[in-house]
């Protein structure tokens, strides 16, 4: 079977769940070959093997952290040229999409972004995208070059398939251009202790109806009772009530959790574009005409300032 090159992402040394989703999809169309940027340790190899990687490639070089995007793209391109894989899979996100774009140019290949499903096809895999703010599903294939595909998080349930991967270290000769955009400083964010928004199974989100920064404590209360991530609409982040990195919508993140609870969010098309793929949607809004109720599986017309604290209490009792 042809290899499928999967770019692995790690946070604090741990493989991110979206990378395991990529390995799950890769197994449908070939043999997963994982590419790790940075040094690999036994724990990383064990996790990747448990999810079906038959080979783990490692490119470890200071350029990968000292310069923006281009070194990572050159590393992926180098390994792709080595393997001639059936596809290159990368997680959708600012870094992943830019890496994929450059790899497509370097390989002179077609690129499809934001896939929500990949199935084996006649030659090239069939890639499903959720488009037009999630109102249409489109099936496409790449017809030229090595298919380069970025995949939305939470699009597939992670499955294990234990194997014992071989580990190979790869040297990449970076171009001068790879050293052109220098990272001169990094500021780490304080961890909230909650799940990462893009990977979370449950998301609790607040919008304009929250009315204040303080009211977001009510959203956090429900989130913590459910072990969920917290999100906000653009209206709320623009007001400064919650951090921009938690914004869901067209200019923020696209999430597709099992459960999305929207409080004080009207459900404008720009917000729906970021959460319409959620499996189950619960809405609390005081306006019975809010469009969010059109897509909600369960809606409560009421004041979130009383409903949310009562819900936190109720969840504590059950």
């Amino acid at each position: 079977m042809a290899p499928v090159l999967v770019l692995i992402e790690r946070v604090d040394g741990a493989v991110r769940k979206p990378s395991l989703e990529l390995l799950t999809l890769a197994r449908r169309i070939g043999e997963p070959a994982a590419l790790v940027l940075g040094a690999v340790d036994d724990a990383t190899v064990a996790t990747l093997g448990e999810h079906g990687a038959t080979t783990v490639y490692s490119v470890d070089a200071p350029e990968l952290t000292d310069y923006l995007i281009v070194p990572a793209a050159e590393a992926v391109t180098h390994v792709a040229k080595m393997l001639d894989p059936a596809a290159v899979l990368v997680t959708s996100g600012p870094d992943g999409k830019e890496i994929a774009g450059r790899v497509a140019v370097a390989l002179d290949s077609g690129i499809i972004t934001d896939a929500v499903d990949i199935q084996p096809g006649d030659g090239s895999p069939v890639v499903t995208q959720s488009v037009f703010s999630g109102t249409w599903l489109a099936d496409s294939t790449i017809t030229s070059g090595t298919p380069v595909i970025t995949v939305r998080t939470n699009s597939v349930a992670v499955e294990t398939s234990p194997s014992t991967p071989s580990v190979e270290s790869v040297d990449v000769a970076f171009s001068d251009l790879a050293r052109a955009a220098k990272v001169t400083g990094t500021t780490a964010k304080q961890s909230s202790g909650r799940p990462d928004l893009t990977d979370a199974a449950i998301v609790v989100a607040g919008g304009r109806g929250m009315g204040s920064e303080d009211a977001f404590a009510l959203v956090e209360g429900v989130a913590d009772a459910l072990g969920a991530a917290v999100a906000a609409s653009r209206a709320a982040t623009d007001m400064g009530w919650y951090g921009h990195e938690f914004q869901v919508g067209q200019t923020g993140k696209t999430v597709s959790p099992s459960l999305y609870i929207a409080a004080g969010i009207s459900g404008a098309i720009q917000h729906r574009a970021g959460m319409q793929g959620s499996k189950t949607i619960v809405a609390v809004n005081k306006d019975p005409k809010a469009p969010i109720f059109e897509i909600a599986d369960f809606g409560v017309v009421g004041d979130l300032h009383t409903v949310l604290p009562a819900l936190t209490e109720e969840l504590g009792k059950r």
Binding site: E98, R102, V105, D114, V183, L226
Partner: protein, 260 residues
């Protein structure tokens, strides 16, 4: 200094979009507008000159005849001139062809020091074209800027991510994309709209920028959409009015769906 701002004329986001018979977005059937995300790039380019950078601002678009309206909108906000790559062969171009055409057009404009764009288009939402243009030009990419500054020879940005933020710098010429965090775009004034109508817009064909028609359009597309279907509408959910029992009803629902 010369700044080129890439702008895209897109279907109005609040309209109902559909596919044309050839499975490309039906652009003729809906109102269009300058992509909101590109307005942030226009705003930042204008702010750079207002802060004292001595620069000419050229807006560059590719698209059907109507796309000139996007250039006019940008010109009504400020800036010097517009370039419209207009050619029937461009219809149904993919990101690979789009990035090729934009890079060749930037070279045709000539003596460009800085290319700016939004973080994505609001129609295709791919977010790949700025990095692909940078790759084709062989210029540094300094992308997803939440804040930026430019002096005579260097661009510095702040790029935010889930885990923190990075400060990144590169020498010019470079390609910069900006996020909505850079700050609200201005509304054109009446005076600006009148002035924008008189600013020069040059139309270029593929021949003018040295791109063969066989390298663009549906024929050159490296991906093809085989089928597209409206997602089946969600079954209508239950909506209740809170009478003091709203929270308990939600908890009941979550329990029935096995979330708790």
């Amino acid at each position: 200094m010369k700044i080129v701002v890439l702008v895209k004329y897109v279907p109005e986001p609040t309209a109902t979009w559909t596919y044309a018979d050839d499975l490309t977005i039906d652009r003729a059937g809906v109102e269009g507008r300058l992509s909101e995300l590109d307005e942030y790039a226009v705003e930042q380019a204008l702010q750079l000159t207002e802060k004292g950078l001595d620069a000419e601002i050229v807006y560059l678009t590719m698209g059907p005849a109507k796309a000139v309206d996007g250039l006019r909108k940008a010109l009504s906000m400020g800036g010097t001139s517009g370039v419209h790559v207009l050619d029937d062969a461009l219809h149904a171009s993919d990101a690979m062809a789009t990035s090729l055409v934009l890079a060749k057009a930037i070279e045709a404009v000539g003596d460009v020091d800085l290319v700016m764009s939004g973080m994505a288009s609001t129609d295709a939402e791919m977010s790949v074209v700025p990095s692909m243009v940078a790759a084709r030009l062989g210029w540094p990419q300094v992308t997803f800027a939440a804040a930026l500054e430019v002096d005579g020879s260097t661009v510095r940005i702040r790029r935010d991510s889930d885990t923190g933020s990075q400060n990144v710098e590169a020498s010019l010429p470079a390609v910069v994309s900006v996020t909505d965090q850079t700050g609200e775009a201005r509304y054109p004034s009446f005076k600006g709209i009148m002035a924008g109508k008189k600013k020069p817009v040059t139309t270029m064909t593929l021949a003018d920028i040295g791109v063969d028609a066989s390298a663009v359009g549906a024929g050159a597309a490296k991906s093809v959409t085989a089928s597209a279907n409206v997602r089946p509408p969600k079954e209508a959910g239950t909506v209740i009015t809170d009478e003091g029992d709203g929270a308990a009803k939600i908890a009941d629902f979550l329990a029935s769906a096995k979330f708790i």
